[in-house]
């Protein structure tokens, strides 16, 4: 009998050896050469392992501390955050727990505070580095993509809050901490030039901007930064969804009086609401 050609997955990340009694079960798993269950487990912290998965090398103490600080800063955007609200919508309706995270990822993917904003902001960092004039130019004249894409163009400079007034304390505290523990050139520069950048943008720095700068300090690509941002913000979505599942839909905002139908064809209700179509 001729053996069928085995189609293979190509990866630099992961290698396995097979158990003697089962070619479908691993006897050892290696991540970037490290024996995950025979060596790394019990020695590496979760954050070190996460870094290893993305970068295929052990982090320095400083890099691990930076990623850990970023992970804590992003872990729970709070129940008012759009992505967490999406997860809570799953919770209150008794939807599957997986759907809470799927919803949080969908909503947390966008140009406003989401993964795509971080992706674009990291691209800006790659282009502008520590050159304030370059930042000024790109903020004032952002690149325009000629072709249509599923992502619509940014409506604000990435990394800044289009609805903000001043830079909120948690954003400033996170930036200060990450700059201090990492000593990363771009984070220190961002802290020193935050006010100037905010003046150019006409908007305050947002947490997504700090996250993007930290991703750059960790030498992550825009793609890695986008997906890591999505991943790191899930814990808050998870716990808030579980909490609201217990509380139920009656205790969750439905905005019952918040919707006005502008083209209501019912003349009676239109009169009562005083809304013109």
């Amino acid at each position: 009998m001729t053996e069928k050609k085995l189609e293979k997955i190509t990866t630099r990340i992961w290698n396995e050896t097979a158990e003697e009694d089962n070619p479908f079960a691993a006897s050892a798993c290696y991540c970037a050469g490290y024996d995950v269950y025979g060596d790394l487990l019990g020695k590496a912290s979760y954050i070190e392992y996460l870094y290893l998965l993305f970068k295929l090398e052990r982090p320095s103490a400083c890099q691990a501390k930076l990623l850990e600080g970023l992970a804590i800063a992003l872990a729970n955007p709070g129940p008012r955050d759009h992505s967490v609200r999406a997860a809570m919508c799953a919770g209150v309706g008794g939807s599957t727990h997986a759907s809470a995270l799927i919803a949080a990822i969908s909503v947390g993917a966008g140009n406003l505070g989401g993964g795509r904003e971080v992706f674009t902001a990291v691209q800006y960092w790659q282009q502008c580095g520590l050159d304030l004039d370059a930042w000024s130019a790109i903020i004032k004249e952002p690149p325009v993509e000629e072709r249509a894409d599923v992502w619509t163009p940014m409506e604000h400079p990435p990394g800044f809050d289009p609805n903000g007034v001043s830079c909120p304390a948690p954003v400033r505290q996170t930036l200060a901490y990450l700059a201090e523990i990492s000593g990363a050139e771009n984070l220190v520069w961002l802290q020193q030039n935050r006010s100037k950048l905010e003046k150019i943008a006409g908007l305050p720095l947002a947490m997504s901007g700090v996250a993007a700068a930290a991703m750059v300090a960790l030498e992550l690509s825009p793609e890695q930064s986008e997906i890591l941002h999505l991943l790191l913000r899930l814990p808050g979505a998870a716990v808030h969804s579980l909490e609201q599942e217990k509380l139920g839909w009656r205790k969750y905002p439905f905005f019952g009086d918040g919707l006005k139908l502008l083209n209501d064809p019912d003349p009676v209700r239109k009169e009562v609401d005083g809304v013109e179509s």
Binding site: F24, S83, C89, A90, G93, S106, G110, N111, L259
Partner: protein, 271 residues
């Protein structure tokens, strides 16, 4: 057979009667029919019905298309699944991410796919018990005792379901709505609405009864309903996307009603 032998037998080997794309010939097959010739003139719901169940009926396709429209296409962004889509619009995520997130959330308990599947299962289980001679009242009370509610009956926010009458009118036009399960579903409704529980039949109860009368099982009914909410979801995304970023029901700090520990703590303090 299971274990490594089973896995080995499937290794690089997927045998199926469902369908395939034959790139060399430029042909597509679904359940033994050629899509681009035999099925190309089908309405989409008939094609979906055929793909999901293998049944080929223009009348049933029209019936479940109507069930989708009347039951599941509410374009109100406050509804929990639609909220996900509207939130995607407000954060400028993509349209497909909005639909995917919202559709995942439609597998809910108080609405959506769990009641849709659950009430058909209830009707079939009830029929079996009735055949054993158990009175309907006893079956209903035991179901309520065990599960506290019955899928397909009762509804958040509004006691009577405004969709029941239009759907029944629509179904009757197609010669549906007169079968055993529809009758059974409304018998349960009559009992529950007059009981202390006061539950009325909701649209998932009616839809399941109509589809049970057409001979579908609960899994088929579930699969046919998977995409039913999309026509309500997508407009909610578009609406929020056309408004300013972050404008979908923004919530200020004081809109959080914190009910946890009083005071603040220091991380270094003893627990």
């Amino acid at each position: 057979m299971n274990g490594p032998e089973m896995l080995e037998s499937f290794e690089g080997n997927w045998e199926t009667s469902i369908g395939a794309w034959m790139p060399a010939e430029g042909k597509v097959y679904l359940r033994g029919k050629e899509v681009l010739t035999e099925l190309k003139d089908y309405r989409w719901h008939r094609y979906l019905l055929y793909g999901v169940t293998g049944r080929d009926s223009e009348r049933i396709a029209r019936l479940f298309e109507g069930i989708w429209l009347i039951s599941c296409s509410f374009p109100d962004p406050r509804l929990w699944n639609n909220q996900v889509a509207a939130l995607c619009g407000t954060t400028r995520a993509t349209g497909v991410l909005a639909s995917a997130g919202a559709l995942a959330v439609t597998e809910a308990t108080i609405y959506g796919l769990k009641p849709i599947k659950g009430v058909m299962d209830f009707l079939y289980r009830t029929e079996k018990k009735l055949k054993k001679g158990i009175p309907l009242e006893k079956i209903i009370i035991e179901e309520l005792k065990k599960y506290r509610s019955i899928y397909g009956y009762g509804r958040p926010l509004r006691a009577q379901d405004e969709r029941v009458t239009p759907l029944m009118e629509f179904a009757r036009k197609l010669g549906a709505g007169k079968g055993y399960y529809t009758d059974l579903a409304f018998q349960v409704d009559e009992y529950l609405s007059l009981s202390k529980y006061g539950y009325s039949i909701n649209i998932s109860g009616v839809a399941a009864a109509l589809m049970a009368d057409e001979g579908f099982n609960a899994d088929e009914h579930y699969h046919l309903a998977t995409l039913a909410f999309t026509a309500g979801v997508i407009p909610c995304y578009i609406d929020a996307k056309e408004k300013p970023q972050g404008a979908f029901f923004p919530m200020r700090i004081s809109s959080v009603n914190y009910c946890g520990n009083e005071g603040t703590k220091k991380w270094g303090d003893l627990a």
